[in-house]
């Protein structure tokens, strides 16, 4: 057990030490300047406009929600794809049914106009 995990332990210890070391060095030896530009979000020069807590249009959420669903349904395609040859025509038809079910959802979304941006 111990031997198996020893390299990992070593890695963890080393990484931790290195991180602490680097931060400590930077605190000790770094130069401190208190210029206004340093406190800004984008040091490269673009001034931020307005508050970051402004509401985002609902459309974004909607798209996100729809994305979650369609994205995850694809999970069923992978196992099918692996043995699709073995399943043959039957498997193909089954998967068609599955996709048609998804398509029903898609057409419903279309008919509700959820994907229209305006």
């Amino acid at each position: 057990m111990f031997e198996t995990f020893f390299p990992i332990l070593l890695l963890v210890v080393f990484a931790t030490l290195l991180a602490i070391l680097l931060v400590t060095f930077s605190i000790l030896f770094g130069r401190r300047t208190k210029l206004g530009k340093k406190g800004e979000s984008y040091e490269c020069g673009i001034d931020p406009v307005g508050s970051t807590k402004d509401p985002v249009p609902v459309k974004f959420y909607l798209i996100a929600i729809l994305f979650i669903i369609f994205d995850l349904e694809v999970v069923f395609l992978y196992p099918w794809a692996v043995i699709s040859r073995k399943l043959g025509l039957f498997g193909f038809i089954e998967m068609l049914v599955f996709v048609v079910i998804l398509l029903v959802g898609y057409f419903y979304i279309l008919s509700r106009g959820a994907l229209k941006w305006d």
């Binding site: 399943l87 039957f90 079910i101 029903v104 057409f107 419903y108 008919s111």
Partner: protein
Amino acid sequence: MIDITAAGLDFSLIAPEIALLVAAFIILLTGYVRGLSNLSFTIAFIGLVVGIALSVGQWGQQASGFYGMVTCDNFGVAFKVMFASITLLVLLLGTRYMKSRGILKPEYYALLLISTMGMMVMANTTDLVVMFLGLEIMSIPLYVLAGFARRSLESNESGLKYFIMGSFASAFLLMGIAFIFGASGTTELRRIVADIGFIIDHHRIFLYTGVTLILVGFGFKVAAVPFHSWVPDVYQGAPTPVTAFFSVGPKAAGFAVLLRIFLFGFAGLAFLSSVFWVLAVLTMTIGNVLALRQKNVKRLLAYSSIAHAGYILVALAVGGENAISAAVFYLVAYAVFNLGGFAVVTLLETRSGCKSDFVELPGLSKAHPYLSAVLALFMFALSGFPPTVGFFGKFYLFAAAVKANFIWLTVIGVMNSFLSVYYYLRVIKASYIDPSEKSWAPVTYSPAMLVVLFITVIGTLGLGLFPQQLLQFAREAIFAFL
């Protein structure tokens, strides 16, 4: 390795589910097409009727398909017929209400159908994972339906609470299934039954933990105390037809699964009986006690539904053929008169601005003598007053308990059912006896609503006077269950 071919898949076993699904899809596709959008009700209606017909056609067969994932037996079929019929009645009683609140959309029908389909999936299997899937197919549309009135703050709150508590309970259920799987290497109840001795000997902790978590998950759906607290808030906030659906549909589905899992799958675990004993007593007592002071009829009916769940839990504590058939009988009976009660509440709420608080009731008996008589009838049925079917439901249930020597459980149950009279009587008192100050806004009956009231009244009284048909049905339903 299982060789998957079409041969193992007998689609006739899931024909009713397919019918509902297809109907739901057609509604979704045509609902927003101009010219076809008015057809939604008809399509849903046809889908349900076809679903019922196909389910009835499955009666009497004993088959298993989809590699053990689907089991078609009388028990499942009885529940499938029941679910579809409940949805049909809800459809009829709710349309006018939803329209009057401006929330009648095609999705309403589609969601009801899909939810019903989920219930059917639950009843139609002996596999825990399929039960979980069915539960989710049932629940997810219900979350949406609870919050269906998007502009109403109550409805919002109801949907939110139901969703959070529901998904919380689902997580417990899934964990439970995982443990059962770990203990037995399968999720198929029949195989678990076959090896139960071995499993108890070798994986007791996993098995017991799993059983507990499954009990929690489904106990939540049937509103067993202490997993009941969502019920009143969700019921009160949801649109009334949806509440009517909640109070009978998912509850019946939950019990169908509970009966299957605990009186078939884990019947070998004798100590479960005492767990259900305690749950039953807690559930009916707390439901009844909390119902006592309610000032809103919907909320009162919510607590009353908790209490009724407690009565049915008696069957789970008792076990055996008599108790199971009594539970089936009770679920059907409860569906009939509870839907009736909600139909009256829905009808009264169709008037604008009504939230079915008690203060709205006085004057009902003068303005609408028949309607108030019908309401009183359902209240008497809920309290188990003969000769309504409510009395017979309790009679069979408690008779089965006495037979199996659960004397104290019966005593507590009967005492509870008598104490419950007190608050049902308050509804009657409010509509008959309390003086009315305001003039009574008129109630308009829709033909669909009249049909619902007629069916439920006839059912409540007729099944009370002639219960033998229903009892026979309940007995046949559990044929080959054990």
